[in-house]
């Protein structure tokens, strides 16, 4: 005879914290249910993931441009001056500096490339190999670019 090892969850047996957690996991309900008109091709998913990688790579590329030239750093800082704290007269408080421009370039690279790729691929099936290659290539490159081989030597120049 086989013993039954698992049981169907019974609502009345559920402790209060279990019920709260179950409710939280489904909040907001509209999101939990998912779209009623689901997408049928893989192009839009590829566009969403690859554009995220493009945004991150754009930021790191801008970081390299900015950190290797004072003139370019000024431009990058100007691009990001819309972010609160980018410039701040208080020396005690400090400011975010050109980092805001790099953050802005992430947003620009990501949010510009996403609609472009979406419209190019919205009715296409993108191969798994293509999707994974660009996803990994962009994110690995962006991560590795955190460490520029020249950065530790820049203060000596």
């Amino acid at each position: 005879m086989t013993r039954q090892l698992s049981r169907q969850p019974q609502k009345e047996n559920e402790p209060v914290y279990g019920r709260i957690w179950a409710q939280f996991r489904k909040f907001p309900n509209g999101l939990a249910e998912g779209s009623q008109k689901p997408l049928t091709v893989s192009g839009p998913a590829a566009a969403a993931l690859i554009s995220a990688g493009i945004g991150c790579f754009t930021m790191m590329f801008t970081h390299h441009l900015s950190d290797t030239s004072k003139a370019r750093e000024k431009i990058v800082w100007a691009i990001g001056s819309w972010i609160p704290g980018s410039r701040n007269p208080s020396e005690l408080w400090g400011n975010i500096g050109s980092y805001t421009g790099k953050e802005t370039m992430l947003l620009v690279g990501w949010l510009v490339s996403w609609p472009i790729l979406y419209f190019l691929w919205k009715k296409k099936n993108i191969k798994a190999k293509t999707m994974f290659f660009w996803f990994f290539a962009l994110f690995i490159a962006a991560t590795a670019m955190s460490w520029h081989p020249l950065f530790p030597y820049l203060p000596l120049m």
């Binding site: 998912g34 009623q36 998913a45």
Partner: protein, 206 residues
């Protein structure tokens, strides 16, 4: 008198599955509370900047990491075919993205003070003078890779909602796999951000 095994256990004794469930919930709640208490130790720091900005950013970052790690771990069962977790994956991916944004916003606030001059106690200038590797290896990695969690989270939330339940169908197998990898990457970058951030804070406070 000898008792049989059945007689030695009273009928009121809870079933093993119930004990396991209560233990899992109890330990999870205690662990989460204990872990989330960690940034509040900043409130005892002698530096007023660390007391406020350190607590705010520390709590935001820790919460973002906990939720991102929980969500990232849902990627493994769904890849193994546990499809009933898909609705909670959608909501938790959304919430982890939202909290990651808050972690980034509070990070911007802390970064301001981090860049203050060395004569005013700024951490960045001090680290460059006294421990340059902390700046060039830990902080460079910290300040950029944590930002990756935002586009990754938005992309995964968008995909999980737009593909609905059809993401589980055979023809969408690679979409589901890529999304799960995206969630794992988000978890990885969130954890890396927390570890490097804690490392920097250990060397020099705000």
């Amino acid at each position: 008198m000898l008792q049989t095994q059945n007689e030695s256990i009273s009928p009121e004794f809870p079933k093993q599955l119930d004990i396991a469930k209560v233990s899992v919930y109890g330990l999870s709640i205690l662990s989460a509370l204990m872990f989330l208490f960690l940034p509040f130790v900043n409130l005892l720091h002698p530096s007023p900047w660390q007391r406020w900005l350190g607590t705010i950013h520390g709590f935001g970052a820790l919460l973002a990491t906990v939720v991102a790690v929980y969500t990232g771990h849902l990627a493994f069962p769904i890849l193994r075919g546990v499809t009933k977790i898909l609705p909670q994956m959608r909501t938790l991916t959304f919430w982890s993205t939202f909290i990651a944004f808050l972690g980034i916003a509070t990070g911007n606030l802390a970064y301001m003070r981090y860049r203050a001059g060395i004569d005013l106690g700024g951490a960045r200038a001090w680290l460059k003078e006294n421990s340059p590797l902390a700046q060039y290896v830990l902080m460079e990695y910290h300040e950029f890779t944590v930002l990756f969690t935002l586009p990754l989270g938005v992309a995964c939330t968008w995909i999980l909602w737009h593909y609905g339940d059809s993401i589980l169908e055979k023809q969408n197998r690679h979409v589901l796999s890529a999304t799960c990898v995206g969630l794992m990457a988000m978890m990885f970058f969130a954890m890396g951000g927390l570890v490097t951030g804690l490392g920097i804070a250990k060397i020099h406070a705000l």
